[in-house]
Symmetry: C2
Subunit: 517 residues, 2 copies
C-alpha cells in the first residue's frame, strides 16, 4: 500500500473531497476548486482571484479558441473598459437587460477629507464598466464601415467584463469575469446568420473536442434571448447535478445595434444601408463547466487537451542517497515525453522534485486533476519501467509500464483519457435525459428529484426532459414558476413534429427542458 490516505481498508471508501457530489453538490464544487487551487473569493464582493492552476486552464482555453477564431478570419482588437451612459441608452432592450447589474464610475479622483478617503472630481457623464461591448464597439464600427468593401468586419476581443451579480459563485457567476466577445458586421442578413451559426459551431467543436464536454446546440426561446438580439443560439451541457450549463452563446443581432450605433454602408449600387451584426462569447464560466463535467470525489479532472500539465512525474525517494539517481532519471524521462506531441503541441510535463513525501505529492496532483501521473523509484529504474496512474481511473489503479512503451504511447494514452472523459459525460447525459410525452410525467420528473439529502439545499435533480412544446412564452413562464425549469434550447438537430403535451397544440420539434445555472 503506497498511500497513507487509503491505509484504512474495509471501510466506506474515503474520498479526497468532502462532501462528495451526492452528499452536497454545491459544497463539493467549492471544495474541488479549493483542493485543486483553481480560484478563491476575494474581499471584493463577487470578484474572484483566479489562481495559477485555474488561470493556466484559461490560458489553454484562450490559446485554442484564439487559433480557431483566427482560422475563421477573425482578428483581435481592444475597446474601452468604460461605456458612456448615452451609448447604453441607444438600444432600449439592451439597457433594460443590463441596467440592474452595472458597476458605475462617477468620480475620477480621491481626496483625504477628515482622515477619510472620499471620491471627488465628479464626472459630467457617469461611465459604466462594460457588461458587454456591443454599444462601444458599434461606435467604432460606425466609423470604420463606409462601403460594402469594408465588410465583413470580423473582430474579437479578449477582455474582462462586469455584471453585478447578487448571488456570485466561483467561475459560474462572478461580478467580474474574463471572456472573449466576437463582434461582426455584414452586408446581408444571410451572411450575418451564417456567421452566427459558424461561431456556434466553433464553440460546439471546442466544447466537445477540447473540453470533452458534450453539448446540445440550439436556439433560445424569446425569454432567454440576449437583450437586443433577434435570435440567440447556445451550447448547453449537462453538469453532474443534472442541471444545464449555458456554455456559450452566439447572437444574430439583425440591424438593431447597427441602427442604434449608425453602422451604415454604401452597397455596390451606391445605396446607403444598415449593416447586419452578430456577437458571440464564452467566458471563464467554461472552467466551471469543466469542473462540473469531469471532476469527481477525489477532486479536479482536467481534460488532457487543456490540462496545464498533462503528465506529472513524482520521484519516489526513500533514501537520500537515491535522490540524485532518481532525479536524473526523471529529468531524462521528462525530456523524452516533451519531445512527443499531443493535440498539436509538445506534451506538457511537470517534474515534482519538491522535498516532501511522495504520497502527499501524488494526492495533490490527483486533486489538481493531472491526466497522467508517473511514479519513479529506484526499483522502477532498475527495471527501466514506471508506475503509471490515470486520472480517469481510480487512484489505486496503477500499473507498471516499460519506460519506452510508456513514452512511445503517451499521446495515445492522453487521447484515450480524453475520449473516455467525453464518453462518460455523454453516457451520463443520455442516462439522465428523458423523452416525455405527458404533462403529468413531466411534472413528476421535475417535482421529485431523484437524489435528495437533508443537508443539501439544492438537491441533484432529475435531468433533461425532451418534450414537444407549442412555444408559448406564457406557458414557459408558468412551468418555470411551477418547477423552476426552463427551455434550455430548441435543438438545431433535425426533429419530428408532434403534439405539445401541455396544450395539445402542434409542435415543430422537441425542446430541452432543465434546471439551469
Amino acid at each position: 500500500m503506497r498511500y497513507a490516505f487509503v491505509a484504512v481498508s474495509n471501510q466506506k471508501p474515503q474520498t479526497a473531497i468532502t462532501p462528495t457530489r451526492t452528499d452536497n453538490y454545491p459544497e463539493w464544487y467549492l471544495k474541488v476548486i479549493e483542493a485543486a487551487d483553481l480560484a478563491e473569493s476575494s474581499d471584493v464582493r463577487g470578484c474572484m482571484v483566479i489562481k495559477p492552476w485555474g488561470y493556466a486552464l484559461w490560458e489553454n482555453v484562450q490559446k485554442v479558441l484564439d487559433g480557431m477564431f483566427k482560422a475563421t478570419d477573425h482578428v483581435n482588437a481592444y475597446f474601452p473598459l468604460f461605456i458612456p451612459l448615452s451609448y447604453l441608452e441607444k438600444e432600449a432592450s439592451h439597457v433594460e437587460g443590463f441596467a440592474k447589474e452595472c458597476a458605475v464610475v462617477t468620480h475620477h479622483r480621491l481626496e483625504l477629507k477628515g482622515g477619510k478617503l472620499v471620491p471627488t472630481g465628479e464626472l459630467t457623464e457617469p461611465l459604466v464598466v462594460r457588461p458587454t461591448s456591443e454599444t462601444i464597439i458599434g461606435a467604432s464600427f460606425a466609423k470604420w464601415v463606409k462601403s460594402y468593401r469594408d465588410l465583413p468586419l470580423l473582430i474579437n476581443q479578449w477582455a474582462n467584463v462586469v455584471r453585478w451579480e447578487m448571488r456570485p459563485r466561483l467561475f459560474l457567476r462572478t461580478a467580474e469575469f474574463l471572456w472573449q466577445e466576437g463582434h461582426t458586421a455584414h452586408a446581408t442578413s444571410t451572411e450575418a446568420v451564417e456567421e452566427t451559426m459558424k461561431m456556434l459551431g466553433v464553440y460546439a467543436e471546442f466544447a466537445e473536442n477540447w473540453m470533452a464536454m458534450p453539448v446540445i446546440q440550439g436556439e433560445k426561446t424569446a425569454g432567454e434571448r440576449f437583450p437586443g438580439a433577434v435570435q440567440t443560439f447556445c451550447i448547453e451541457a449537462m453538469m453532474q447535478d443534472r442541471k444545464a450549463l449555458q456554455a456559450g452563446t452566439s447572437h444574430f443581432l439583425g440591424q438593431n445595434f447597427a441602427k442604434a450605433s449608425g453602422i451604415q454602408f454604401q452597397d455596390d449600387k451606391g445605396t446607403l444601408a444598415h449593416a447586419w451584426t452578430t456577437s458571440w462569447g464564452v467566458s471563464t464560466r467554461l472552467i466551471g463547466g469543466m469542473i462540473m463535467t469531469h471532476a469527481d470525489d477525489d477532486g479536479m479532472v482536467c481534460p488532457p487537451k487543456l490540462a496545464p500539465s498533462q503528465v506529472v512525474i513524482v520521484p519516489v525517494i526513500q533514501k537520500p542517497e537515491d535522490r540524485e539517481r532518481v532525479i536524473a532519471y526523471c529529468k531524462a524521462l521528462k525530456q523524452d515525453l516533451e519531445a512527443r506531441s499531443f493535440a498539436g503541441t509538445p506534451v506538457r510535463v511537470h517534474l515534482d522534485a519538491r522535498d516532501m513525501r511522495g504520497g502527499d505529492k501524488v494526492w495533490q496532483w490527483i486533486k489538481k486533476g493531472v491526466p497522467v501521473r508517473v511514479e519513479v523509484g529506484p526499483r522502477d529504474i532498475d527495471k527501466d519501467s514506471v508506475f503509471m496512474g490515470r486520472r480517469d481511473k481510480g487512484p489505486k489503479e496503477k500499473s507498471g509500464v516499460a519506460r519506452g512503451e510508456f513514452v512511445a504511447g503517451i499521446a495515445a494514452t492522453l487521447q484515450d483519457i480524453q475520449d473516455s472523459l467525453y464518453a462518460r459525460a455523454k453516457a451520463y447525459r443520455t442516462e439522465h435525459t428523458r423523452v416525455i410525452d405527458s404533462k403529468d410525467e413531466f411534472y413528476a420528473y421535475f417535482a421529485a428529484p431523484s437524489t435528495k439529502h437533508e443537508n443539501d439545499p439544492t438537491p441533484i435533480h432529475a435531468g433533461f426532459a425532451m418534450t414537444h412544446f407549442n412555444g408559448d412564452p406564457k406557458l414557459e413562464a408558468k412551468i418555470k414558476d411551477d418547477l423552476g425549469v426552463t427551455v434550455r434550447c430548441v435543438p438545431l438537430a433535425p426533429g419530428e413534429p408532434g403534439t405539445c403535451p401541455f396544450t395539445g397544440e402542434p409542435s415543430a420539434k422537441r425542446v430541452v427542458w432543465a434546471k439551469s445555472y
Copy 2:
C-alpha cells in the same frame, strides 16, 4: 515608375505622412498611428481603441514576454479589477501617488428616473478601478504565504489598468491601458533585489533584441520612484524627438507592501517575518515606443521580430486574364515562405489579393510598416523572380531577386532589417547624447532646442546629457523647473566618479538627463 505617388519628380520629395517628423513631431506621431491603423481615440475621455494592426503588435509583445516570464519560473494569475479604498489606504505613499487619478465606482445599478438613466444602489465602500495591483495582490499573497516553503512566490498578471490622465496621448498616456504586472514575494531582501534586477534585465533584453530599441538600464532618483517602492529601476529609450521614454520599470518594494498587506512567513527556525516583495511592469506604451523609435516620414516601421506580418505579397495584375496565374504563384510563394522560420516562429506572410491598384496596396503596407514587401507580376513569374522592397530602405529602392534565393534568404533578410533598425536607433541616440561637464553648457544644451519650427509647440530638443550629479533632490527639482529636464536614471553600467558641475560636489557616476514622456 511604378507608383503614382512619386510620379511628380524634381520636387521636394513627398512623404506618405504629413506633417513630417521635423515639421511637427507630435502631429506626425498621431498621423503615423492613423495611417498605419494602429489605434484611435474613443468617445470615452482618454481611452483608446486599439485597432487590429496595433493589437497584433501587442499580441506579439505578449507572446514573447510571456515566454520570457515563464522561462524565469513565473506563472500567470488574475486578480480583481476593483480595489476597496481600505486596501489603497494601507500604504501611505502609495495612496498619495495614485489618489489623484483614480476611476471610482460608487454605484452598482442604473435606474430610469424622469426619462434619464441615473446611478443607484450606492456601495457602502467605493471601489477603485485598479491603477496597479500591489494592494489587492498583496491581500492574496498574505493568504498564500505561511512558511518559507511557500516562497518565492512568482506571479504575473496580464490586465487592464486605469489612471485618469489629464493629457492623454495614444499609447503613451491613456486613461485605460493594457499591461503586465509581475508581483513576487521572497524570504530575503537579497533574493528580492535579485528578482528586481533579473526582470529589469528581461525588459532590456526584450527592448533591444525584440523591439530593436536600445535602452539604458538604470535606477530612478527618489523623486521618480514608484509610490511605495524602496528602489525603482527602469529602461529608458531615446525617441526621435530626442526625449526619453520610460519603457519599463522594476521595483524593489522592500517590506513596505508586505507590512501593509500582512505577508508573513515562518522561516526555517519558526520565526515569523515579513516577506520582501517586488513588482515590475510594461504596457501598451511599448507600442508608442516602437513607433517613435522606428517610424519615419512614410509611416510605421515594425521591427521584424514583432511585425504582425513580416512579409506582404502584392500581386501586380494589369490584365484580368493574368489574375489566376499570378495569384496561384503568390499562394505557392506564401507557402514556401511560411515553411521558413525566423526568431523561433514560422515566417508570418500576408497575401494581399484584394481587387485594387497594386500601387495603392504597396503604399498601405509601407504605412503599416511591414518589413518586407514583394511584388509579383506576370513578367516576374516568367523570370521566376520577385521584386522586393525593404521597409528600412527608401520606398523606391526595390530590386529583383530570384525566387529561390529570396525564399532561402528570408530569415537572413528579416534579421538584417532587425539589426539595421537597432543600429540606426543606437546611432541616433549616440549622436544626440552629449557628455557635459559644465553648468553653462548644460543649460545651453537644453535651453536651445536644435530644431525649432514656428508651428510646432513642442520642438525637437537637444537629446540626452550625461553629467555628474551630487544627487540632491532640490537641485534636481530646480533644474526641472528651469529646463523641464529630469534625471531619467542613474545608469547601472559602471562609471567613473567625478565632480557635479552644478555644485562642485563629488559624484559617484554620471547620470542621464533628458526631457521625457
